[in-house]
Symmetry: C2
DNA sequence: GGAACCTGTATGATCGATAATACAGGTTGG
DNA sequence: CCAACCTGTATTATCGATCATACAGGTTCC
């Protein structure tokens, strides 16, 4: 009967080792068990173990030395960018790193039902849809799909969208934005996002869905963002609030931030090994925040 | 040369359709193109398309009717649980839904380097490590790995950990917790987490890593949580703050929450079809928060 | 009823992933 | 130097995923 489409064994072992490395169970510098040992441990052939190690190697998680062994690579050099809740990269820009935006798609049309509902639009109303990719130091890290009601979208041009932050353009049109809701989740990379973010299909992605409202309560922007988790993550400081029976954590508002012990700071610009696919930009423009 | 371990084609098509469904591109009720059409569109055989649809069907994203077609299932019945930033499920509990905890592992030992560093421990100091699974209405949705310095862990028993929230036990030991930092990210399910959360290996997961500090700055708890994205997501309301040049989004503190338009509310308890694996609990206890 | 679509199911051929095995060459430590 | 490990590489065999094709049966609509 049904054979249950088991994912590739190599991938299974890859994920297992990857988890142990990331969880710190295999600290940087550790020598992994030899390929024959791993093969025996997981009851697979050595060829399969090698493929798993190849994947880890390609991601820079391990370093292989012929004749010597396979070692866990020092992870600290590939720490992801951290952004606070508001999804602001300001301190990165302060550090002199440049963020660019590439506009992949731009057009008008009818919104899907879910978008229309969350923007509170009447049936038949049209939206502007755009797809952008954000790069930091030339490396793509987020894939943004935005939907904006047509009457706002018409106040700026395609070129302006590629050059300025969308929220700025919206506010320039006379709309004031005050409230927003957002949800953070996880998903797998589909073909388009995978290509844009230079990933394999099926890689994990962080998602952020944000809907921005104007004071009257109508939605003015629907943002769906996909982030490479190895290059981006949400970070926040919490303080314990509330009275005895109802104690909980609340985000510590307002900089200065609490824990800046020089920990995840000197994020090196990624070694950019394997010089494949120079990511020829279709339309790239400097843009802040 | 290298054949690049392309993920299974069926999985590729599955992901593609899944993205379009979740993104709202294919609204609930829509009839998908026929299997022959999809096969042609993606240049694969019909058998492969069927396997992709099988996966979507198994996840409840589509519904197939012999002779009629394949339809996008009404997604609203499988909306994920929403938790606010502080990771509190209080309003769910208020709604009468029960959360249980299953303790999978408990023990003492030396921490990995990363854990030790984030807890600010001296070399040689030991930690208590525990792995728990949280269920809501009997369905697992999170996989928690916690590390606590031994001197705190010794103040409570294994049975207590299975019955009470960890932070409560820590505070009971005399430590006051005031600050914490946390990061949200995404990853793929490894074998253990996949088994515990009733998922396929390689499924996407939300991760939350939180380190809790006592006033003196020593870490007292390291929490690594994995969440099923289809059953859990982080949600927050934002307000626009800051002066002109420095406008940004800040979390809207303090309930009452802004957007409760009865949207993601009536989350039905999941149909629990396919009665396989009755999830026999090893050690299950009611627990709040 | 009947044409035209659909899903469900079965078949044998093909191709890639995996297994089992063998050997070459580097590294380490006695 | 040499024994004992390691990674790198190659070979052949097997098994599962995929393909191409065909047919059965349900649904829809004219």
């Amino acid at each position: 009967m049904r054979s249950a489409v088991e994912p590739l064994k190599a991938r299974r072992i890859y994920l297992l080792l990857r988890d142990r490395i990331i969880a710190g169970d295999l600290p940087p510098g550790t020598r992994l068990p030899g390929e024959p040992a791993l093969a025996a441990e997981h009851a697979v052939s050595r060829v399969t173990v090698r493929r798993a190690l190849d994947l880890l190697d390609k991601e820079g998680l391990v370093q292989r030395k012929a004749g010597s062994g396979t070692f866990v690579h020092d992870t600290r050099s590939v720490r992801p960018i951290v952004a606070d809740l508001s999804n602001v990269l300001s301190h990165l820009i302060d550090m002199g790193r440049s963020t660019d935006v590439k506009l992949l798609s731009f057009g008008y049309g009818l919104p899907s039902e879910g978008i229309a509902e969350s923007l509170g639009m009447k049936p038949g109303e049209r939206v502007q849809r755009s797809v952008r990719v954000r790069l930091i130091d030339g490396v793509p890290f987020s894939y943004l799909t935005t939907h904006v009601p047509e009457w706002i979208g018409l106040t700026y041009s395609e070129a302006e969208l590629a050059a300025r932050p969308l929220l700025e353009l919206i506010e320039r049109s006379g709309v004031t934005t005050e409230r927003a809701t957002q949800a953070i989740n996880a998903t797998l990379a589909g073909p388009e996002a995978a290509a844009a973010l230079d990933l394999e299909i099926g890689s994990p992605l962080l998602t952020l869905t944000r809907v921005v409202y104007e004071p009257a309560g109508r939605g003015v922007e629907h943002l769906h963002a996909l982030y490479r988790p190895d290059r981006y993550s949400f970070h926040m400081d919490l303080v314990r609030t509330g009275n005895d029976g109802e104690r909980r954590w609340s985000p510590a508002l307002g900089w200065p931030r609490a824990s800046d012990k020089g920990k995840a700071d000197k994020t090196k610009p990624e070694k950019n090994k394997q010089g494949d696919k120079p990511t020829r930009a279709k339309r790239t423009t400097k843009q802040r925040s």
